[in-house]
Symmetry: C2
Subunit: 359 residues, 2 copies
């Protein structure tokens, strides 16, 4: 009996060539060379503005309609943006706790982030990866904030634009914050990204997926809620100060690199998506066809045991669906070369034909 | 009437050659060239372990007695180390809040950090910058944690080793966490640093001051309390992930650079300290002679007005003592060239002989 895997942090940063990693959600292809090109002559070492470099925020503002540099805070990845936004909207300590509505399946950090900010998660269950508006409204009513995550990690689904507009209207009317995690905005196979907007929308974004800069840690939040942005900057003054100036300058160089970097990668992702989806279907697995991001979430019985056996016996990293609120599924990230995807599918076939059939 | 200055974040990241900045506490001299030398060939972009690079933690462990790499977490500056440590020891949300005892004057973020973690600051007033053990014990009793900050920002004082040992013993006996902020450990003019230790000591440290890497944001915490370290890593998985891999690699290169980098800088700081202390005494100001770090905290009436007038009329940045719990004082950082110190003292003389005498 292989030992159970405690959670994602067991795997993060693990590297070994014998392993096929369908685990951590990080691109394997490098950032644009322009991002590295700034390093050789970089000699900066002083504090920068806590909200982030003015040059970077100004460049970002060009990507958003009706946006200025003061609507952005550059953070240590999307994670810090989420942490600070939640802490900024949380009710005062000692008072009644607030509720935050999360989609389920959810990105594994969300419930932790909500609790770490002193609030309680409530859930709206997705149906085949899609928002059911009635279920959503029920969970959102009385909540301080809702999370929207389209394209979604871990489901790989993208929400309909009509649904997202209905979410916007409902939350604006009810005065509910929307934390819209759009870190996969540039990895959509079915349509252009739809940017959620409204008076209390906080857009969470990152350079990690679009520019393959996961380890460098540059994310940001964008909001037209000036009071919230101010509260986040004030908080970050005490909790972290500026995001590393060097990583920010790399992010700026990436942003200024030719757009073809991003568009050409989408074709690479599409090929992988097809290989993965077709391959898994051929193995008889049940899963949703990915519309964005780079995850599939096939159903498995005993998902924890699957993840442990695949790791210890087949040298494959996968993430237990239970970590994402989907205990009858296993998440596979396909952010790796097609030859590795093929090898992974071979190992998976072995597993299905041997261990798994005896579960 | 010049407008009041709202707080330190107003000044952070402000640069202008006409300004003499006695404000932000950051070295003006660059990091060791070894730290920059790694950049040209750096091509890393993937996530690293959330606790920080194993190489960096292993190298740090050599600097501490009885330490291993797993006793460290590399953070986005000392600020994040403080934030995470406090959140890790805070009582569960909804339960009775905990108290945390802070020295006063304090580093301006401490009370914010304590409140952001859902706890309440209580204070032990320093006497001429020194800990009075009876006052300390009174505040510490019933507290979850105490902060020790020697050398101190903003007082520039260093606590006696006997006092620090008494603090250790008292807190070990009472089961109180010690958060020992030792970011100025390599900038002491009067003796070697005394590393506080004990079963529930969390040492907060940083590459910002020792290696002039403020803007790059690499700090760390060190503790023999394995449960606390584990809780911090688990939390950081959700709130930020790894500290920027590039900044960590620069920190490692700095750590491996010749020790003469650090020792030769202490002489530079001593000269500046002497210039500042002597110059201010000659102007008739009342202040403590700095024993470490790079701050003086002379007394002033109407400190807020002083800071505003010095900024708007004399183009000098100084920090209001009120931000540090010392409303009758103004903090001057002397982390700048002696020619700038001299020019600053000239402007200060003008101010004292003109505006200030009419306050």
């Amino acid at each position: 009996m292989n030992p159970p895997i405690p959670g994602p942090s067991f795997f993060i940063g693990k590297g070994d060539d014998s392993l096929i990693s369908f685990g951590s959600g990080q691109p394997d292809l490098p950032p644009p060379e322009e991002a590295f090109a700034i390093l050789a002559s970089h000699r900066g070492f002083k504090y920068g503005p806590v909200a982030g470099s003015v040059a970077l925020r100004s460049e970002l503002a060009k990507q958003y309609a009706d946006a200025g540099p003061d609507d952005f805070v550059i953070t240590n990845g999307a994670s810090e943006a989420i942490d600070l936004a939640l802490r900024a909207i949380a009710p005062p300590v000692g008072g009644p706790g607030g509720k935050v509505a999360l989609p389920r399946p959810y990105y594994y950090s969300y419930p932790h982030n909500v609790r770490l900010a002193g609030m309680e998660p409530v859930y709206y269950d997705l149906e085949e990866g899609k928002i059911n508006l009635e279920t959503f409204k029920k969970a959102a009513t009385g909540s301080i904030a809702v999370f929207i995550n389209s394209p979604s990690n871990p489901t790989g689904t993208v929400q309909d634009v009509e649904t997202l507009k209905a979410v916007e209207q409902f939350c604006a009317r009810e005065g509910i914050y929307i934390l819209s995690d759009e870190v996969y905005k540039d990895l959509i196979y079915v349509r252009e990204n739809y940017l959620l907007h409204g008076p209390h929308v906080v857009t969470i974004n990152s350079f990690s997926k679009t520019y393959a800069m996961c380890g460098l840690r540059v994310g940001y939040l964008f909001s037209k809620d000036a009071e919230l942005v101010k509260a986040v900057v004030e908080m970050k003054t005490h909790t972290a100060m500026n995001t590393s100036i060097l990583a920010q300058d790399m992010a700026l160089a990436a942003l200024l690199s030719p757009r073809s970097y991003v568009t050409s990668y989408v074709d690479v992702w599409k090929e992988r998506r097809d290989r993965m989806y077709t391959g898994m279907r051929a193995l008889g697995l049940e899963l949703w066809e990915p519309e964005g991001a780079f995850y599939v979430l096939p159903t498995f019985k005993h998902s924890g045991r699957v993840v442990s056996d695949l790791y210890y016996t087949y040298r494959m990293i996968t993430y237990d669906g239970a970590w994402f609120g989907a205990p009858d599924r296993v998440r596979f990230s396909y952010a790796l070369d097609v030859t590795k995807i093929d090898e992974g599918l071979r190992r998976l076939k072995d597993f299905l034909e041997n261990e798994y059939k005896n579960y």
